[in-house]
C-alpha cells in the first residue's frame, strides 16, 4: 500500500470513526431529553483573559452535531475508495487532512459557547473549505470559484462579526450565556441592525437568494465528497447560526423579521428550483437544489419567528420542528445525491448530463440510491422529504388561524409557492435521473461506465438508510427535537405530534391533520397482491419478450434521437421566459428550404439575473474606481511632496 493511499485511508478512516463518536454523543445528549442539563466545559485553557474556548452541547448544538457527524461518517466511508482516483495524480492525504480539519471546525462551530471560539471556527471553516474547493486547482474555473467562495464567506464573516459585536456591546461579555436574550437590553435600531447583519452573514453561508452566487460555482468544482459535505453540512451552519441568534440572543422578534425570513425563504425556494431546472451540469443542478431546500428550511424558521411574534409558542415550536426536520432531511438526501453524482462523474469523467444516459444498467446500485435520493428530495411520499414538507405545510396552514392580522395571508401564499417548488423539483429530478441513468448512453464514456467501488456504495447505502428511516419513523425522530424546542421556545410537542403509538404523525392535534408514511407503505404492501393475483388468474399464458423501441419505421434509434436535458426543460424555459431571458442562437444549413435543414446547430445560454444585473456591474465598478484611485500614485515625486505639503498646511490651519 503506497504512502498517499495509506494516508488517505488513515485520515478518512479516522474521520469516519470520529463521525460515529460524534453521532453517539449527539444521540446520547438528545436522548436524555430536555430535562438533562447540557454538557459544557473548557476545551483548552484560554491564552488571553478575555478569550475563552468554552463549548456547550445543548439541544440545538447536539442536533447539528448529529447532522455533522452523520454526514461526516457516511462521506468519509465513501471517500475511502473515491480518493483512490487521485493516486499518483494528486496527494489524497492532503485532501484527507483538510477534510478532517473541516469536520473538526464545523463541529466546533456548532458546539461553541463563546463568540471567540465561534468566530475562529467560522473563519477556519471558510479557510479549510476554500482549500478543499480549490483542491483541483489546475482548472481556472476551479480557481475562480474558490476565490469567489472565499470572498463571499469572508464578507459573511464580516457581517457576523459586526452582528456579534453589537450584541457584545450590549452584554459586555463574550460568552453565549451572557448573550442570552441580550436583545432586550439593546435599542430597537441596534437590534434590527444586528438582525439584518446576521441575516446577511448567515444568509450568505446558507446560500439564500440573492446571496447564493458562490454556491452553484463552488459546489460543482469541488471533489464530490467535499461537495456533499459542503452542501449537506457547511451551508447548514448558516441555518444553525440564524436559529441560535434569532431564537436565543435577539429576544422577541418584531413582525418584519419573520416576514422577511419567510419571504427570503420562499424566493430562494422558487428561484433555486427554477434555475436548477435549467442546468444540465449534474452537480450544478444539485447545488441549485441546495438553494431551494435552504429556502424551504427558512420558511419553517420564518413561520416560527412569526408565531413568536403572534404569541403562539407551541406553533413556533411546531414550525421550528418542521424547519429542523427538513434541515437534517436535506443533509441526508442531498449528501446522498452528491455522492451519487460523484460516483457517476467518477466513472464517466464528465458533469454534463447530455453525455450520460443508460447508467441504470451499468451502475444499478448507484442508480437505485440516486433514485431514492431523487424521490426524497422531490418531497414524494413515503420518504423523508415528504414528511418535513408536510410538517411545513401544516405549520403554514395553522398559521392562518393563528392571528387576525392581514399578515396571516403570507402563510398560505408561501404554502402555495412551496407546492410550486415541490412540483418543479419533481420535474427537475425526473430530468436529472431520467437523462442521467435511463435510455441509451449518449457518449462512449457513459457506455463504458462501471459500477462504483464498494466503499462508495456503502457510503451511499448509509445515507439511503438514513433517508428511509427518517421517512418511515418521524414520530421517533421528533422526540429527539424536544430538547431543541424546549431550549428555544420553552415547548415540548413531540407528544402532541405522535398518534397510535407513533405510527401516525399528527399536526399538533388529530383533527388538524394526520399522516403516516409507514402506514402508506403498509397500505401499498396490502394492495400489492392485487396486480399479481390478476396475472395469476388471467395472464398466466402471456409471454414477455425484448424488442426494439418504436422508431417510426426508421432504421433503429440512435442516442441523438433521445430527448436531451435541455429539451426536457424547454417547456418550463418557455413558460418562465420572463425570468430566464435565454439567449439562443440557431444556425441551420439547408439546400432549398429552411424546414429541411441538413445541419442544425442550436445553442441556448441562460445567465443568472443576479450575476448579470447585480454582481458583475458591482465588480466592474469596484475595479474601475480602484484604477481611478491608483492614479494618485503616478510616480511624480513633486506630486508626493505636494500631498505632504497640503496635509501640513491643512493641519496648521485646522488643528490650530
Amino acid at each position: 500500500m503506497r504512502r498517499p493511499q495509506l494516508a488517505a485511508a488513515l485520515s478518512f478512516g479516522a474521520a469516519a470513526l470520529s463521525g460515529l463518536i460524534g453521532l453517539l454523543a449527539a444521540l446520547l445528549c438528545l436522548g436524555n431529553g430536555p430535562s438533562a442539563p447540557p454538557w459544557h466545559g473548557e476545551l483548552i485553557p484560554s491564552l488571553i483573559p478575555y478569550i475563552r474556548f468554552s463549548a456547550r452541547l445543548d439541544g440545538l448544538g447536539a442536533f447539528f452535531l448529529m447532522l455533522v457527524s452523520l454526514l461526516g461518517c457516511a462521506i468519509s466511508i465513501y471517500s475511502l475508495d473515491y480518493t483512490k482516483a487521485y493516486l499518483g495524480r494528486k496527494n489524497a492525504g492532503v485532501l484527507g487532512a483538510f477534510f478532517n480539519a473541516l469536520l473538526l471546525v464545523t463541529t466546533l462551530a456548532v458546539v461553541a459557547d463563546n463568540i471567540w471560539l465561534f468566530l475562529i471556527a467560522w473563519e477556519l471553516m471558510a479557510l479549510t473549505a476554500y482549500c478543499l474547493v480549490s483542491f483541483e486547482h489546475e482548472q481556472p474555473e476551479t480557481r475562480q470559484a474558490g476565490v469567489l467562495f472565499f470572498i463571499m464567506s469572508h464578507i459573511d464573516a464580516g457581517c457576523i462579526i459586526l452582528g456579534f459585536l453589537l450584541l457584545f456591546q450590549a452584554s459586555g461579555d463574550f460568552s453565549f450565556d451572557s448573550l442570552r436574550d441580550v436583545g432586550a437590553k439593546m435599542s430597537a435600531g441596534k437590534r434590527d441592525a444586528a438582525f439584518v447583519l446576521f441575516l446577511l452573514g448567515f444568509g450568505i453561508k446558507a446560500g439564500v437568494v440573492p446571496l447564493h452566487i458562490w454556491l452553484p460555482a463552488a459546489h460543482p468544482v469541488a471533489p464530490s465528497n467535499v461537495s456533499a459535505l459542503m452542501s449537506g453540512v457547511l451551508i447548514k451552519t448558516g441555518i444553525y447560526g440564524l436559529t441560535r441568534v434569532c431564537f436565543e440572543f435577539l429576544g422577541p422578534p418584531p413582525l418584519w423579521w419573520g416576514v422577511t425570513v419567510l419571504a427570503v425563504g420562499t424566493v430562494s425556494a422558487v428561484l433555486g428550483v427554477l434555475y436548477a431546472l435549467m442546468e444540465h451540469d449534474l452537480k450544478r443542478l444539485l447545488a441549485y437544489h441546495s438553494i431551494e431546500n435552504i429556502g424551504i428550511i427558512l420558511m419553517g424558521l420564518g413561520a416560527a419567528l412569526l408565531f413568536q411574534f403572534f404569541g403562539h409558542p407551541v406553533l413556533a415550536a411546531f414550525s421550528l420542528v418542521a424547519g429542523m426536520y427538513h434541515t437534517i432531511n436535506h443533509a441526508a438526501f442531498k449528501g446522498l445525491l452528491f455522492l451519487g453524482a460523484g460516483a457517476v462523474v467518477h466513472s464517466t469523467h464528465t458533469r454534463n448530463m447530455e453525455e450520460m444516459g443508460g447508467l441504470a444498467k451499468r451502475m444499478p446500485e448507484t442508480a437505485f440510491y440516486f433514485l431514492i435520493g431523487a424521490v426524497a428530495i422531490s418531497a414524494l411520499p413515503p420518504l423523508n422529504g415528504f414528511v418535513s414538507e408536510w410538517l411545513t405545510y401544516q405549520a403554514l396552514l395553522q398559521g392562518f388561524g393563528a392571528s387576525d392580522s392581514l399578515w396571516r395571508l403570507v402563510f398560505p401564499l408561501s404554502g402555495a409557492m412551496l407546492a410550486l417548488t415541490g412540483a418543479l423539483a419533481a420535474a427537475c429530478f425526473v430530468k436529472a435521473f431520467g437523462i442521467t441513468f435511463l435510455a441509451q448512453p449518449r457518449s462512449d464514456a457513459a457506455r463504458n461506465a462501471r459500477e462504483a467501488a464498494p466503499s462508495m456504495r456503502i457510503g451511499m447505502a448509509l445515507l439511503t438508510a438514513a433517508c428511509l428511516l427518517l421517512g418511515f419513523f418521524p414520530t421517533t425522530f421528533v422526540r429527539l427535537l424536544d430538547p431543541l424546542t424546549q431550549q428555544l421556545t420553552g415547548q415540548q410537542i413531540s407528544a402532541q405530534l405522535s398518534l397510535n403509538s407513533g405510527l401516525v404523525l399528527a399536526s399538533l392535534s388529530e383533527k388538524a391533520g394526520t399522516v403516516s408514511t409507514l402506514g402508506m407503505v403498509l397500505m401499498g404492501l396490502c394492495l400489492l397482491p392485487i396486480p399479481f393475483a390478476l396475472w395469476l388468474v388471467l395472464a398466466r399464458k402471456a409471454k414477455t419478450r425484448r424488442g426494439p423501441t418504436w422508431d417510426c419505421g426508421q432504421r433503429g434509434l440512435t442516442p441523438q434521437m433521445e430527448y436531451t436535458a435541455t429539451g426536457f426543460s424547454k417547456p418550463i424555459r418557455m413558460i418562465f421566459k420572463a425570468l430566464f431571458r435565454p439567449r439562443r442562437d440557431t444556425q441551420r444549413e439547408y439546400d432549398f428550404s429552411p424546414y429541411f435543414a441538413t445541419n442544425i446547430r442550436f445553442e441556448s445560454h441562460i445567465e443568472e439575473v443576479f450575476v448579470k444585473r447585480l454582481y458583475r456591474p458591482l465588480r466592474i465598478s469596484i475595479v474601475r474606481v480602484s484604477r481611478k484611485i491608483r492614479a494618485l500614485q503616478a510616480g511624480s515625486i513633486h506630486a508626493y511632496l505636494l500631498y505632504i505639503f497640503i496635509t501640513l498646511l491643512l493641519l496648521l490651519i485646522f488643528a490650530l
Binding site: G358, A360, S378, L380, P381, W390, Y393, Q394, L397, G401, R408, L409, P412, A416, A419, L420, G422, A423, A426, V430, K431, G434, I435, F437, L438, A439, V504, S507, E510, A512, G513, T514, V515, S516, G519, M520, M523, L527, I530, P531, W535, L538, A539, A542, K543, T544, R545, G547, T549, W550, D551, P559, E562, Y563, G567, F568, S569, P571, I572, I575
Partner: protein
C-alpha cells in the same frame, strides 16, 4: 378516527370496479353528444381484460425502472383513493394522510410514469414525460391552493374532517371562495386526467400527445395496470371534487343503510360531474401546448382569489 378493514376492502373493491365504468360512461356520453353510437359502457373492462391477457414487448433499452412504473402508478392511485371519503364521511385510511398525502401519492405515480416514459430511449416518451411534468408542475400548486381554501375553512387537511366540517350548519355552500376554488379544481381535474382541452386521450398523433406519449412503449399487462390506474385516478379526483364541495349524503358513521345511500349519492354526483366534463370536452377544441399553462395559471389565480376571499369573507 379509526382504521377498519371492512371499509378498506369495500372501498378498494369499489374503486377497482367502478372506475372503468366511469371512464366508459364518459366515452359513451361523449359519443352520444357527437351523434355517434360509441363503444358499449363495458368496453373499458374488456380492454383491460384483453391487455392483461396479451403478451408484452419490452424495449431492449429499458432498465429496471421500466417495470416499476406501472405498479407504482396503479398502487398510488389506489392508495390515494383510500384517503378520500367516498360513500361515508369516513375515508377508510383517512388517518394515514389527508389532502397533502393524496396529492403526494398521485405525484409519486406521475414521477415514476414519467421515468418509465424516458426509459425506452424513444423521443416520444421523453417528450411526453417532459410535457406531463411541466403541466403538473403548474397544476399541482393550483390544486393545493384550492384544497388549502377548504382546509383553512375546515381547520384541517384531513378530507374526512373537511367533509364533516362542511356538513356543519353555518357552512355556506355557495360561499364565493368555495365556488372559485371549485372552478380551479375542475380545471386541474381536466389537466390531471388528461382531458380536452388540455390533452386528447383519444388521439393517435404522437406529436400532440402528453399522457399517451409516455405509454407508447408499454404493452400487455403493464399497459393494463397503467390504464386502470389512470381511470382510478380520474375517479378519485372526481370523487374528491364531488364530495368535498358537495358533501351531501355522506353519513358520519358507517352502516349498511348509510353505505347504500352514500353509494347512490356518489353515483349521482359522479354522473353529474362526468356529464359536465363531457360537455366541456365536446364544446372545446384541444389547446396548443403552450396555451395550456395559461389555462392552468388561470386556475392558479382563481384558487389564489378563493384563498384571499376566504380571508375577506370572515
Amino acid at each position: 378516527m379509526s382504521l377498519d378493514p371492512t371499509s378498506f376492502i369495500a372501498q378498494t373493491v369499489l374503486l377497482l370496479l367502478l372506475s372503468p365504468l366511469l371512464s366508459g360512461f364518459i366515452k359513451k356520453a361523449k359519443a352520444r353528444l357527437q351523434n355517434r353510437r360509441g363503444p358499449p359502457l363495458w368496453q373499458t373492462y374488456f380492454d383491460l381484460l384483453k391487455f392483461l391477457r396479451k403478451d408484452m414487448v419490452i424495449s431492449e433499452h429499458a432498465s429496471w425502472v421500466f417495470p416499476l412504473a406501472p405498479h407504482l402508478m396503479f398502487l398510488t392511485s389506489l392508495a390515494a383513493g383510500l384517503l378520500v371519503p367516498m360513500v361515508t364521511a369516513q375515508a377508510p385510511m383517512g388517518l394515514f394522510g389527508g389532502a397533502l398525502a393524496l396529492v403526494g401519492l398521485l405525484a409519486l405515480g406521475r414521477f415514476f410514469l414519467a421515468l418509465g416514459g424516458l426509459d425506452p430511449a424513444s423521443a416520444f416518451g421523453g417528450m411526453g414525460s417532459s410535457r406531463e411534468m411541466t403541466l403538473s408542475a403548474i397544476a399541482e400548486p393550483a390544486m393545493m391552493l384550492a384544497i388549502f381554501t377548504l382546509a383553512i375553512s375546515a381547520g384541517s387537511t384531513n378530507l374526512g374532517q373537511i367533509v364533516l366540517a362542511s356538513q356543519q350548519p353555518g357552512w355556506k355552500f355557495l360561499d364565493p371562495s368555495h365556488a372559485l376554488a371549485f372552478i380551479a379544481m375542475f380545471i386541474v381535474l381536466l389537466a390531471e386526467t388528461g382531458r380536452l382541452p388540455v390533452d386528447n386521450p383519444a388521439t393517435h398523433l404522437e406529436l400532440t400527445m402528453i399522457h399517451e406519449a409516455m405509454l407508447l412503449e408499454y404493452s400487455g399487462r403493464y399497459l393494463a395496470l397503467i390504464e386502470w390506474g389512470a381511470s382510478i385516478k380520474q375517479m378519485v379526483l372526481m370523487t374528491l371534487l364531488a364530495n368535498i364541495f358537495f358533501p351531501v349524503g355522506l353519513a358520519a358513521k358507517t352502516s349498511a343503510a348509510t353505505f347504500g345511500l352514500g353509494l347512490l349519492y356518489l353515483t349521482a354526483k359522479l354522473i353529474l360531474l362526468g356529464g359536465v366534463v363531457v360537455v366541456v370536452e365536446t364544446t372545446n377544441a384541444k389547446m396548443r401546448l403552450f396555451r395550456v399553462p395559461d389555462l392552468l395559471s388561470v386556475a392558479f389565480i382563481l384558487a389564489m382569489l378563493a384563498l384571499v376571499s376566504t380571508f375577506l369573507f370572515r
